[in-house]
Structures are given as C-alpha cells and as structure tokens.
C-alpha cells in the first residue's frame, strides 16, 4: 500500500476547512494535500531535519520538535483534528501523547501497524517475531517500541475517556471493516473526548 493511498483514506476523515495538527508530519505531503484538496490549515510537528526542510519546500507550516516533549506549544481545543499517523508506536510516552492529542484537538485520528494482523499471528505461532511490510524491522532494531493490536487500542481509548467515532482497518489501500483485528495491517481510529 502506498503512502498516497493511506493519505487519501485519512483525508476523507478530515472535514474540509479543518484546523489540523499533524504529529509526526514527515515530509508534509498529507498536510499539503489537505491544504490543496480540502482547504485545511494548521501545522505539522516533525523532528527530522531533512523532513522539516521538505515541509518548508512544500510551503507547509512545520514546527521542529520532539513529540516526547509534549504539546505545550498548543492550547486546549485549538485544532479541529489532530493526526497521529504511524507515530504512536515510536513514542515512549504513549498514554501522555494520546491525552495531549485529545486535549489540543476536538477530534483525534490515530493510525498504527496492527500487530494482530494474521501474518503476524502466524509468525508468532511459528515462534518468531514478525518481519512484514507493515512491521519491517527485526525485534532488536525496530523503532516500533509500542506494538499494539486493533483491539488493544479500543481498550486504551476506553481507559483514557475517549469515545471512538469511527474505526476500521486498512490493508493494501483498501478499507477493512470485517474482522479488522485479523485482516488489516493498519488500524485507524477517529475519536473525541468523552
């Protein structure tokens, strides 16, 4: 599944004209797409120097910051949508970040690799950690320090007072609504504070 397909799927979840904060915005492609196709405004947060420069090249507002240091730059409810796409699994302070996401945004959209996708389960049944397209690293060098399943996130959201507005899996660019915990390589959740 290309990055572009995921962007299209995610972009559909963002209401046109939204004020958007994209945590771990990478090269700014999604924010540029949201700006051009859906008249959204806002900021991206990115740590990597090269990606920050690519955002500036795209004319996307980017703020260079380590997400582990929190979102103190932003006031409560200052965004319509906060995106946290393929970022959560890299962060040490997962719960704090999720709460911060819910604090600064009226809605949050999170995506992460689904550890319960069936090839991963198969691999673990064979006794080995999975190395797949969605989790391409060996256990000893993976930046994905928080692996979770589709079902796990539902529990965490519940514990942190988040109401799930929409959830589905994504695999090969297709939305997976049937048994997403088994059938999808990526989990997507849209939520708000209860």
């Amino acid at each position: 599944m290309s990055q572009h397909d995921v962007h299209d799927v995610i972009a559909q979840l963002v209401p046109p004209g939204s004020r958007v904060l994209d945590l771990g915005c990478g090269n700014g492609a999604l924010l540029a797409h949201l700006r051009d196709a859906r008249q959204c405004t806002g900021y991206g947060i990115e740590l990597d120097d090269a990606k920050v420069m690519q955002c500036v090249q795209r004319g996307v507002n980017v703020i260079q910051r380590n997400l582990e240091e929190g979102l103190s730059l932003f006031e409560d409810n200052s965004f319509d949508v906060v995106l946290q796409l393929d970022t959560l699994q890299h962060l040490r302070n997962t719960v704090d970040m999720l709460r911060e996401t819910a604090r600064v945004g009226k809605q949050g959209i999170v995506s992460f690799p689904n550890f319960a996708h069936w090839p991963h389960r198969l691999s673990v049944l064979r006794g080995r950690m999975p190395v797949t397209r969605s989790l391409p690293y060996q256990w000893y060098d993976t930046p994905n320090i928080r692996v979770a399943t589709f079902a796990d996130f539902e529990v965490l959201a519940e514990q942190n007072g988040l109401r799930i507005l929409d959830s589905f899996g994504v695999h090969e660019g297709e939305i997976v609504t049937r048994w997403p915990n088994l059938m999808a390589s990526k989990a997507v959740f849209k939520f708000e504070r209860r």
Partner: protein
C-alpha cells in the same frame, strides 16, 4: 541617504538631520515586490554580502559582507531573484549617523549625548529609507540575533509592509542573565578612564581597555561550552600539554586567553564605545509584550506576515526556548509559522556559520517566496487569507 526630516524616537527625543548608509544587491523587479531587508546585529553593518573593491575595481581581501555565506547569487537568499537591502542603523559606527558625528545643536561630536535609539526606532528609520527607494512592501525581512528582533518588530510596527519574516537565533526580549552580560560590558567601557563620560573624541583617546573586555565577555557568550573546549581545551600558548605553566598571574597562559585578547584588540580598533552602549541598550529595551502586560501572543496579534523562526540547540545566549516563545505566540494567533531547531554545536555564532541544515531551510523558504512572486494566479494574501492591502 540623507534625511532632513527629524526622526522621532521612542524616548521622546528626535534625531535631527541624519544620514543612513545602505547597500543593495540584485535587481528590484518591475512591480517592486521582490525586496528583502536584512537587519544587522550588534557589531555588523549594511555590508551584508559581496566584497568591496579598491580604486582599480579589484576585490579587497577580507572585505566579504558579514552574511556573505547566506546571501548572494545562487545562495540561499538568492540575489538573482531578490533585491536585497542592508541598512546601517543610526547610532552605529559604520557610516550612518552615530555618536562620533557632529551634533547639529552643539557643533561637537554627539558622544554620550547621542539619543538612545531602540529597535522600534531603527525599524522606523529603515522604513523611511524604503519609502525613498519606492518600496512599499517587503517580500521578506530577515535578521539574526538583534537583527531578528528588528525583523519581528517590522511585522508589528508595519504589518502591511511585510509578507514574510525570517527571525534567526533571536528572542522576544532579553532575559535577566542577558541584560547582566550587557551591563558587565557597559561597565567595562564606562569605567575605563579613557571613556571621559562618552566624550573621549575631544581627548584624542579611545576607551580601548573597556571595549576589549566588553568584546571578550561577548565572545564567551557567543560560543558554546563544547566548541570552546574543542577549539582551545586547556592548551597552553607556546608549550605542549603536560609542560609546566609559567606560574604567572598576568602572562597569557592558555590559548583561550590568547584568542579572547586577540578578539578584544581587533574589536577595539574599529568599534565605537558609545555605539556599544547604545546597541546593548537597544537589546535590553526590546520587549514587544511590554505594552500588553507581558502577553507576547497579544503583541503578535498585530502581525500579518508569515514567519520562519530558526534557533540553534547550543545557543545559550538566545536559546531555543526563547524562539519557541515566539513560535507559541504566533501559533496562539493562528499565524503561519515554520520553526527549525538546528542541532549545531557552535552556540549563538551558529547563525553566521554555514550549516547545510540551516542554510537548506532558509533556501527552501526563500524558494517558496520566489514561487509566490512568480505565480500571477495567486494574489498575495495575509496569513488569515485576506488580500494584503498595501499602504504607501
């Protein structure tokens, strides 16, 4: 450029009959939309880029402008696309009216009587010069350190006249520690017996000792601990590590002492003591949030420009935390802002050095501005999306 109309100053005083020297690079385009003003910091001037030539037109050695690595043809701020302007601020000692010039009221050099000038006063002086050049709106204003303060102030004093602001290694005001360093420097100067209450010109002397110490303390604060360690360590002058020292309290023993004394000597040859006092005071006084009860976000509300803010991780004189205050104030106002925090080892000095990540971001930003200039379809808008009205 000479100005006969007096410049009213923030203090209530006026600067009468003054001259501003400036340099320009590149060509102003037909609709006068590609002008970029570059604001200078403490010891710099209007000579931001390029080299000076001798009478025969040969380039003079070591005459490069102070930001020549950033500004010029094909450089991050490309003078093939932009019309770049450098202006020497009043009160400085590089050609514009300053304390060494004649006070029209007395016929004597101003000396200590040169009126206190602020960042806001400089911006107003620069704006008058742009009026004379027929530039009603800047594509961008760019500055580092004290120059960054001027760039920020431009967006508040003349919001309609600035489309982009690039503020590098700067702060929304000076911290107590920063003012303290300035005060040590000023005390070094005013307690030098050759200072003569600022009227040393009449005595044919220069308060060299004071200027030296002022520059030495400045230099310490412009470098990071790591860079000093790497540059000098505990190296001794004329001996190898492990050799016994001279056991002298006044000889130069360590390389770092030699470096500081050299920098101090060089500085005292060309810099004016009264200018040093004036410029450090301008730094101290800058505080756009003051009129808003200390609320920087309220102060920045006036700005219409889009911003690029850059800081350097090892800069402890104008630390990243101070730049993040600026970013937060802009974000609170929903202004367009990008922020790069460059992990450079060189401390405050990094803003004058050639770091590919830093220069890459500046280049990318100015390329975007150049694209805006070219695209006839997209009219110029403020960060709120309203069309910019140009007032002349």
């Amino acid at each position: 450029m000479h100005f006969e109309a007096p410049l009213p100053l923030q203090s209530g005083a006026v600067l009468k009959d003054y001259t501003l020297v400036y340099e320009t690079y590149g060509q102003l385009n037909a609709d006068r939309s590609n002008a970029v003003l570059v604001c200078h910091a403490l010891n710099a001037s209007h000579h931001v880029a390029g080299v000076h030539a001798d009478a025969q037109g040969h380039p003079l050695p070591k005459s490069e402008g102070w930001w020549d690595n950033l500004i010029g043809p094909g450089k991050p701020l490309d003078t093939k696309r932009f019309f770049v302007i450098g202006i020497n601020n009043p009160g400085s000692c590089f050609g514009s009216t300053g304390p060494m010039h004649t006070n029209p009221d007395t016929g004597q050099p101003y000396g200590a009587d040169f009126p206190v000038v602020t960042v806001e006063d400089w911006v107003n002086a620069q704006a008058r010069l742009l009026d004379q050049l027929g530039i009603s709106q800047l594509a961008a204003v760019l500055g580092g350190s004290l120059g960054g303060m001027q760039a920020l102030s431009w967006t508040l004093q003349h919001p309609q006249r600035v489309r982009h602001c690039v503020a590098v290694a700067t702060a929304p005001n000076l911290s107590a520690q920063n003012i303290a360093f300035n005060e040590v420097a000023r005390q070094a100067i005013v307690t030098d017996p050759d200072f003569h209450q600022g009227h040393f010109y009449a005595h044919g002397v220069v308060p060299r000792r004071g200027l030296r110490v002022a520059r030495m303390i400045g230099h310490i604060t412009y470098l990071s601990d790591d860079v000093m360690e790497e540059k000098f360590g505990r190296e001794l002058v004329g001996r190898t590590l492990g050799d016994a020292p001279n056991y002298s309290t006044q000889d130069i023993e360590f390389q770092v002492e030699s470096y500081l004394r050299y920098q101090g000597d060089k500085f005292s040859d060309y810099f004016d003591a009264n200018t040093y006092l004036l410029i450090t005071r301008a730094l101290d006084y800058f505080d756009p949030a003051r009129l808003h009860g200390g609320d920087l976000a309220a102060a920045m509300g006036k700005a219409l420009a889009k911003f690029l803010v850059i800081s350097f991780t090892t800069d402890w004189r104008f630390s990243p935390a101070r730049s993040r205050e600026i970013v937060k104030a802009l974000v609170d106002n929903r202004h367009d802002v990008s922020y790069a925090e460059i992990d450079a080892p060189h401390g405050h000095d990094a803003f004058l050095l050639d770091d590919p990540r830093y220069h890459g971001v500046v280049r990318a930003y100015f390329e975007r501005i150049a694209q805006e200039l070219q695209s006839a379809q997209s009219p110029l808008t403020t960060s709120q999306g309203q069309p910019l009205r140009v007032s002349v």
